[in-house]
């Protein structure tokens, strides 16, 4: 059963459409084929999971577009949210 939706082949994150637990195998579909990723952390419904390793400083990609950068190394299967990614736009704090 599909438990993650990845919007584009270029994406390194997908969205959980169930509540995922550590060690659970999450299934997603891309280009008509099934893929899987092993969850490393809890990924609540609607939150993002890394479907590939994302080294610190690299773009986090969703909808085939950058949605921010990894603020630390993110392992495949880890929950991706404000604790490990930051936006690149509107950063008045960095000016």
């Amino acid at each position: 059963m599909i438990s993650v939706i990845v919007m584009n082949v270029a994406d390194n994150v997908g969205n959980a459409i169930v509540d995922l637990k550590p060690l659970q195998t999450a299934i997603y579909e891309l280009d008509g084929k099934e893929h899987s990723v092993s969850c490393q952390t809890e990924v609540p419904y609607g939150f993002k999971i890394a479907v590939r390793k994302i080294p610190k400083g690299e773009d986090v990609v969703k909808y085939a577009e950058p949605i921010g950068i990894a603020s630390r190394d993110i392992n495949e299967g880890e929950c991706v949210h404000v604790h490990n990614i930051m936006g690149k736009r509107g950063r008045g704090d960095l000016e």
Partner: protein, 399 residues
């Protein structure tokens, strides 16, 4: 797809038939509000004070008021004032009343200094408004189609479902309306930051594309000037609680509601587009200003497309009748939100996620729902007697 609508003298088609009372300035707003309370079903919008504001903001207030009068959902208009000419030229008789008179719909005016003061004006105003109500009621619904519609959308309380289900379903609806010759508007300038490069290349006019990019740059510069990460403001806490992590992620999901058709104008707040098709409105995202600005631009039906991943169980709709003369379809693409708060929802696009239904399929079902509501079916919001506080989006300083 067809529905029965109200064809106005200017050729535009309304889906409701309201009588509207507006004032040509703050100093007669209370008179308008009192008259509307005595007249069954009359709509009224009390605008903020136009005095002590710059020309751009005064123009936005005047444009909002006259735009509501011109909205095809309005069958008749009563303009009240202390005098024929309001406080500034934007509110003078020829500019203000003349703008609405162009629509050709039944229109009456009432000025306190010409009819013996406030008390006498109140009585005369109630009489005029009641007669306008009867005049408006003579309008009959006639056959109309998707191409006669002017729709507008705002997304809100966004979560992961917004970009995957709810917004794409609205995008499909917008494509259908635009293909049929209708008009569709979306907005929320902050919430295209990170996605503006995808939208800017869809403008058919380089001049409008440049206006659009300048508007996005302006809001980003203003946000940066606060010295904070914009993530402390937008995405809002409800978005972050539901799993959205950055403004760019929110924006890239948000633009799915704009469909895929070429973009015409980058409109000012409450500005009517010069042509049919798809347009962007440069505005603050708040539901307390945006639905009003859409209605003033000519939208007959607003869509509030929410994610709602952070909603509490049984939470009521965050806004009901913010378009004043244009009803709001309240919808979600999140199955849990619909399960939690479906009693207040007009539509669910959640089948895209739960049953992996094609976006085009759910988009077509949404299209059918829109036609039913256009034909007279009430939205959930319309069943509530809520006159919420809405305001004109103003950008300038006050003096």
């Amino acid at each position: 797809m067809n529905f029965l609508g109200y064809k106005r003298p200017d050729g535009r088609v309304g889906i409701r038939n309201h009588t509207l009372i507006i004032a040509n300035g703050r100093n007669a707003a209370n008179l308008g509000a009192l008259i509307s309370k005595s007249v069954q079903g009359a709509k009224c919008f009390v605008a903020t004070n136009e005095n002590g504001r710059g020309a751009d903001d005064r123009a936005a207030i005047a444009r909002t008021l006259t735009g509501l009068g011109n909205n095809p959902n309005v069958g008749a208009v009563l303009v009240v004032g202390a005098k024929r000419d309001g406080s500034h030229e934007e509110f003078f008789y020829d500019a203000f009343v003349g703008e609405i008179a162009g629509s050709g719909k039944p229109l009456e005016t009432l000025f306190m200094d010409e009819c013996g003061g406030f008390d006498a004006a109140l009585g005369a105003g109630v009489r005029k408004a009641r007669n306008l109500l009867i005049a408006a009621s003579r309008a009959e619904r006639v056959r109309a189609g998707l191409g006669d519609l002017f729709l507008a959308v705002k997304c809100g309380y966004s979560d992961a479902s917004s970009g995957m289900a709810g917004n794409p379903a609205v995008g499909h609806l917008f494509d259908s309306v635009v293909d049929a010759g209708g008009t569709a508007v979306f907005s929320e300038t902050t919430e295209v930051i990170g996605a503006e490069h995808l939208l800017s290349k869809r403008f058919t006019s380089p001049c409008e594309a440049a206006k659009f990019l300048a508007a996005v740059q302006r809001v980003e510069d203003e946000a940066k000037a606060l010295g904070k990460d914009i993530r402390t403001i937008n995405p809002i806490p409800a978005n972050i609680a539901a799993g959205l992590s950055t403004l760019e992620e929110k924006s890239l999901g948000a633009i799915a509601k704009a469909g895929r058709r070429p973009l015409g104008q980058c409109l000012r707040y409450a500005e009517s587009p010069k042509s049919r098709g798809l347009h962007f409105m440069d505005s603050w995202m708040s539901s307390s200003v945006l639905f009003l600005g859409f209605a003033a631009a000519g939208s007959v039906l607003n869509i509030f497309q929410v994610g709602g991943g952070s909603f509490g169980k049984g939470q009521m709709m965050p806004t009901a009748n913010a378009g004043v003369v244009a009803p709001t379809i309240f919808m979600t693409g999140n199955p849990r939100t619909f399960e939690n708060t479906g009693e207040d929802m007009d539509f669910s696009a959640a089948g895209i996620l739960t049953e992996r239904r094609p976006i085009s399929h759910i988009g077509n079902v949404l299209c059918e729902k829109v036609c039913k509501i256009a034909g007279g079916e009430l939205t959930k919001g319309e069943t509530l007697n809520i006159e919420e506080v809405v305001e004109v989006y103003l950008r300038g300083a006050c003096f």
